[in-house]
Symmetry: C2
Subunit: 206 residues, 2 copies
């Protein structure tokens, strides 16, 4: 079967590790930063600038203002942002048509929803997300568990806004995904190894 797999994930749930390991186990391409690099190459924008825009949700006030005033002139930040999203969507489609792959984030689930992609959402409870983030944060940037939980919520709020801004859909709606995977209490390496077995069998989306 064709193996085009998209992964959305809550911050701290280990979704990125899950995606990387899955791509390795299935021996297929893996994209996240790479996509941004490619956008960067195509648009001649500095990598860091592109990265900062794609990582951060656009201010929510823009689409609301636009909706209320029907202003034909978009603020430069939104225009730039929308241009990047459109290019990014094209690149994602191109990559998915090129070879089997895992694509993490970037609304890839939405962009590839009609192309037979298997869309995965990875999540966990707050306790495990905080624990995972604490284990990975540098010694000189230690936050309290409460501060870390706040940061995790803020990142996911941005991801949700970003998704909603560009797709008009709720990032949390389970109907956007084929599988939702809870990583709380689990070893992600073993979980990925178990889950990768699914792809040995043909269960194409009709």
């Amino acid at each position: 079967m064709k193996k085009i797999i998209t992964i959305d994930r809550e911050f701290g749930s280990g979704g990125r590790e899950f995606g990387k390991r899955l791509a390795e186990l299935l021996n297929i391409a893996y994209y996240d930063e790479e996509i941004i690099d490619e956008i960067s190459d195509k648009t001649d924008l500095a990598l860091e600038y592109v990265r900062s825009i794609v990582e951060k949700a656009p201010p929510l006030s823009f689409p609301i203002t636009i909706g209320q005033t029907f202003s034909p002139i978009l603020p430069p930040y939104t225009e730039q942002n929308s241009k990047i999203y459109v290019e990014q969507a094209e690149i994602i489609k191109e990559l998915a048509s090129r070879s089997d792959c895992v694509i993490v984030g970037r609304c890839a689930d939405y962009i590839l929803k009609d192309s037979g992609a298997i869309r995965i959402f990875v999540y966990a409870d707050m306790e495990h997300k905080v624990k995972r983030c604490q284990e990975r944060s540098p010694e000189n940037e230690k936050l309290s568990n409460r501060e870390m939980a706040k940061k995790i919520k803020a990142v996911d709020r941005d991801r949700r806004k970003y998704y909603e801004f560009f797709t008009g859909e709720d990032w949390n709606d389970r109907l956007h995904y084929d599988f939702l995977i809870n990583t709380s209490n689990k070893d992600i390496k073993e979980l990925t190894r178990a889950f990768s077995q699914i792809f040995d069998i043909n269960f194409d989306i009709k």
Copy 2:
């Protein structure tokens, strides 16, 4: 690995079929009606009576009234209902300790949450749930698609109320489950065959 698998499912999503096929493929026990039969044997209540109470959510007004008045006397229906739930929970624990198994519904995910059970939630979009229900309804009981959608929503509302009444939790909260599986657009037989591969690998809940 130990294979205790609980399945919650939206009405019409094919969760029951998924559970039965999974049990067959893994060669382990399967319970749903069987649990009720066993309750029936233990309590000397007529099977049909037990079945009707377990299938239907208790009136939501009961717990609210109890909370407000701290009345020590419960209405007979609720008392009977709670008694059945408690017995049912004991039986579910007993069954899960006896052998590997799949248990569909009956708040089994909640009852077995601390015993290393793999908790699955099966769902689908309304279009596919209606289609599935229409294909399975007898010729002389045909509903319009709109009536069928209404029926599907009503059954799930009852399931949600039942779950909330006995566990105090939201049936739809993804944190109660390890995997959520969307059956829309999929062949359930192939999907189950693919998913059953997961259990070949050891990914015990810690």
